[in-house]
């Protein structure tokens, strides 16, 4: 497709594969976004990760890097709202459905406890679009 349309060869990459859960093949963790050109014809099916899966990925990464934005932290708050999570225990339980404890760093639990201790106090929580996978 990139050749046909003259796009950058890296327009689509698979760099997220290092963050995938062992449940990635489970049909329950993804949703069909669209089929091209149509379901009745051979072509391309595009799936997106469900918010629960994205939430677990973001919590596992818990990466903080920017100056003006809170990167994964903002996405975690947004996804928690979308899912309906309101305490850190439920959040950790959800994360552990996707990743075993030994793959999780202490910062995941520490970060979630603080995020949920202040949850709802930030006026901006839940106001933006659902984020994509870790980037």
């Amino acid at each position: 497709m990139a050749e046909e349309f003259g796009w950058d060869e890296n327009w689509l990459n698979d760099g997220v594969k290092g963050w995938l859960s062992s449940r990635d093949a489970d049909p329950d963790v993804k949703a069909l976004f669209k089929t091209y050109p149509a379901e009745e014809q051979p072509g391309l099916r595009v799936y997106t990760a469900k918010p629960e899966y994205l939430f677990a990925m973001k919590c596992r990464a818990m990466r903080v890097a920017g100056i003006e934005t809170n990167s994964d932290i903002d996405d975690i708050k947004l996804l928690a709202r979308a899912i309906g999570l309101n305490n850190s225990q439920d959040a950790m339980t959800l994360v552990e459905k996707f990743y075993p404890q030994n793959l999780l760093q202490p910062k995941t639990r520490l970060g979630l406890e603080e995020i949920f201790s202040n949850f709802g106090l930030d006026e901006g929580d839940g106001q933006a679009a659902i984020p994509s996978s870790p980037s």
């Binding site: 903080v64 100056i67 932290i73 202490p106 970060g111 995020i115």
Partner: protein, 129 residues
């Protein structure tokens, strides 16, 4: 900036975009990193030009990015990075969470830590092919 728009090819370009209001700092840095990683032949060129000044935190961050990338990819550390952004006097912790400060003090890369910037150890990582 659309999906297929041109990414900033240098740190100086990142700062230029920020100063004229064309792009926010964080997404511009992320796009710069994508370009840096995808173009091994132009990595030295991407960090060698001294950027303009924004403020103490941004300047220190840009200098830390230059030094860190130079160290990781065995490039000469740009001379400007030693003098650019030396005005930061208070530590800056990314993410805004008190509970992560200890983690960030421990894992922030040296180029950031010595400038009083505390970020994740993988702060400059990007999804790659």
């Amino acid at each position: 900036m659309n999906l297929f728009g041109k990414k900033p090819g240098s740190l100086a370009e990142v700062v230029r975009r920020v100063k004229i209001g064309e792009q926010k700092f964080d997404p511009s840095v992320r796009e710069f990193l994508d370009s840096f990683y995808a173009n091994p032949d132009s990595r030295q060129r991407a960090i060698e030009e001294r950027p303009a000044s924004i403020d103490a935190v941004h300047d220190a961050y840009v200098a830390a990015v230059a030094e860190h990338l130079a160290r990781v990819y065995a490039l000469p550390i740009p001379e400007w990075s030693e003098t650019h952004g030396n005005g930061l006097r208070e530590p800056f912790f990314a993410g805004g969470l008190q509970s992560l400060k200890g983690v960030l003090v421990a894992e922030s890369p040296t180029a950031f830590r010595r400038r009083l910037l505390f970020v994740s150890k993988d702060a400059l990582s990007r999804p790659r092919m």
